[in-house]
């Protein structure tokens, strides 16, 4: 990367990188962060578009000192403000972020799993580069599992051919991952 810290603009509650070469670098070389405007599944690293970051990604990168978020007036938006916004915009944000951070810190690629019906889809290599990503669904620690959810998790993982893992954060802040596999 060149030209100092990467900068992103806060638009409402969305965070966008307008510097296209740096956006491309962040996506293709730094761990597949964000999503290019109007490009759903980039195949080759020649995309020339703005890159939208989720609040989770923006917070993670800001905490790592890799990203500076500024608002429309050019004022910096610090990590605490990003976190506060996340809590307002996203139920259960702290737990979801703790899981996101835990997975990213392990060197895994963590993307939205919405299309598969889970919080995250997790890759070792990256989207488009492997066929066996797994799904991680974050539930609040005090949510109490309905057996129906266990069956759904097992069935879903079977139908999308991806391991389905339920993640939660206990009161001590430890992240745990449970897997349910249909047996008979």
């Amino acid at each position: 990367m060149s030209g100092g810290k990467l900068r992103a603009l806060l638009l409402g509650r969305r965070v966008v990188v307008f510097d296209r070469p740096r956006a491309r670098d962040l996506y293709f070389n730094e761990g597949f962060y964000g999503k290019f405007f109007m490009v759903s599944k980039p195949k080759t690293p020649n995309v020339e578009r703005e890159l939208e970051l989720s609040l989770l990604e923006a917070l993670y990168l800001a905490e790592k000192g890799k990203l500076e978020v500024v608002d429309g007036e050019g004022r910096p938006v610090d990590v605490e403000e990003l976190r506060r916004m996340g809590r307002e915009a996203y139920e259960n944000f702290d737990e979801v972020y703790a899981v996101y951070k835990d997975l990213r810190d392990r060197g895994l690629i963590v993307k939205s799993g919405m299309k598969f019906g889970a919080t995250f889809v997790v890759y070792r290599l990256g989207p488009g580069l492997e066929h066996a990503p797994f799904l991680v669904h974050v539930l609040p620690y005090d949510s109490r599992l309905d057996p129906l959810e266990i069956v759904r998790a097992g069935r879903l993982s079977h139908s999308v051919r991806k391991r389905f893992i339920i993640a939660y954060v206990d009161p001590l802040g430890r992240v745990s991952y449970l897997q349910f596999r249909w047996m008979m």
Binding site: D146, P147, I150, G154, S176, Q179, M183, M184
Partner: protein, 177 residues
């Protein structure tokens, strides 16, 4: 495997109902097949085991005054002290029907210790029944996982739906956490 009694032509094994247990005097064969718990010279069957064996035609249970109890009578009597008796019996019978050795645990939540022979070795499970509509907290799941691990068993949830259908799901902690 059929539900037909395997001992249909032999003399019926007899057990006596005593304080929520069925006491069998000559229980060697049942013991060998993984039923009951030996207590000195007698074999003690749980009511779940007894109901299953009555249903198979392998056991006759009599009350202390000598009257024979039907399957229905035993189930009815057992349910008085244990409202989840039918669910226990459902899952136990299903496990046995699948050719697995199962031993009922005396616990608040219906649970079984199950072994499955795989060639020379043996798979060991702790099977817990969860009924559709009752939820389980992560704290409880962790406690069950710990319990299974301490007994060197894999944790299985037997999920029983509203009609009594059973699905089995293996539960494990992954990602080294």
């Amino acid at each position: 495997m059929t539900y037909q009694g395997t001992l249909a032509y032999a003399a019926m094994i007899k057990g006596v109902l005593k304080d929520s247990k069925v006491v069998v005097e000559d229980g060697e064969e049942l013991e060998e097949r993984g039923y009951g718990r030996r207590e000195e010279r007698v074999l003690m069957l749980s009511l779940v085991e007894a109901a299953y064996l009555i249903d198979r035609g392998d056991l006759e249970v009599v009350s202390e005054d000598g009257a024979t109890l039907s399957f229905e009578e035993l189930v009815r009597a057992a349910t008085v002290n244990d409202p989840s008796f039918w669910v226990r019996l459902l899952v136990y019978s299903d496990l046995r029907h699948r050719g697995l050795r199962a031993r009922p645990l005396e616990s608040a939540i219906p649970a079984f210790l199950v072994e499955k022979k795989v060639r020379e070795s043996e798979k060991r499970y702790l099977v817990l029944c969860l009924e559709e509509g009752t939820r389980v907290g992560f704290k409880d799941v962790e406690a069950y996982l710990r319990r299974a691990m301490e007994a060197r068993r894999e944790l299985i949830f037997a999920i029983v739906d509203k009609e009594g259908n059973i699905s089995y799901y293996r539960v494990e902690k992954v990602m080294g956490a």
